[in-house]
Amino acid sequence: MQDALLKIWGLKKRYGSLEVLKGVSTDIHSGEVVVMIGPSGGGKSTFLRCMNLLETPDEGLVYFDGVDIVSADEAQKNRIRSEMGMVFQHFNLFPHLSILDNITLAPRLVRKLKPEAAEKKAMELLDRVGLADKAKAYPQQLSGGQKQRIAIVRSLAMEPKVMLFDEPTSALDPEMVGEVLDVMKDLAKNGMTMVVVTHEMRFAREVSSRVLFLEGGRIAEEGTPAEIFGSPKSDRLRLFLGKVSM
């Protein structure tokens, strides 16, 4: 197997006296769709946020594309982050910018793309998620599901090597979850490398290539969706799966 796109080894993170990650290791290969499940407080989001250094790990190594990113300097970190997309639970669109400006800002500023080129790319992506008519709108004029699809497009405009999703459907009204998951499924089908923290078990079951069950700051169990959902080994995973609706 080729070298992993993301290599994470022995990751530890504590907030004050609370140890959120107690030594987490995994490799994420190109084209994989890794879903992280587990009870809240189990460290899923923190683990994800360490991957693009929104959180600085206290201990452990993160290699992205063969580069040690924990000890990289600021300029390197910015470059690395620009190659990793991230989608947040609360969308975090920029409310003072139009949808088009939300999408083209980073390509123009970070990738130095010409405005016309950035806009052309943005319109193609908007078209792909069915929101081309919203280019001139502002975020507050959109529904939650539309905002999240725009947030995904904003990340995709940077042509990332991996997309990180931090509970992308948790803040949505139930009827809007589907439209966002559809976009994510489409991405997965087209070979995008994805790491997804979610409570959507059906998505995990249908789309993921590997599932990590995080509990108490550790990867408590790991396997294919069939293994995790079909024959969970640990009691804690069985208990967790019993509590979440499928």
Binding site: N78, S82, H90, N92, F94, L109, S155
Partner: protein
Amino acid sequence: MSAFLEDFALCFVKNGRWQYLVNGLGVTLEVALAAIAMGLVVGFLVAVVRSSHDKYGHFPVLNFLAKTYLTVIRGTPMVVQLLITYYIILRSVDSKIAIAILAFGLNSGAYQAEIIRAGIVSVDPGQMEAARALGLSYWRAMTRIILPQAVRNVLPALGNEFIVLMKDTSIVGYIALIDLAKGGDIIRSQTYSVYLPYLTVAGVYLVLVMTFTALLGRLERHLRATGADPVHNDS
């Protein structure tokens, strides 16, 4: 009625005394607008240093200097600061207008800094995270994402500070600079008439402030017409 007209002629027409008010108004506007601009520059820098330090521990030395500056400026009266600037710090400088602009600009900078800092703190932390996750540097994220939203959130408070500053410039007479207030005072001293000079000066300040308030109101409505409602910000 004729007594009023006589008084009016004495105060404003005779010897071209109206010029005290017109020239004084020019000085008031020059000092106020330049000091507002200077205060904004100082305010932005200090606010960014302070909030970056509080949130991420950046710039410990600059933060110490900024805090000292805020304490001294906010802890001493404006008049005293103006006199110290004139008689001690810049005693070799000839231009009283430049001295007044510097003193008022530095003073207002301290207040604007705290207002803008409150604005920065009010912006959802997710905005900085989203900007950084896209690969923007800290400064780019600050200037392109955080500050525009911060300013919009505190525009009413900033406008209030501009109005206070505009009226505060009426103490520049302490360094013998002839602004609108001092101009009215000179007319009073030459004519022994108190009502017309002072009431006219007060009226001109009032019109200035009302005009300024209206302009700010338009700017606020314009910003609200685009971007989100800053209070309910779940974008």
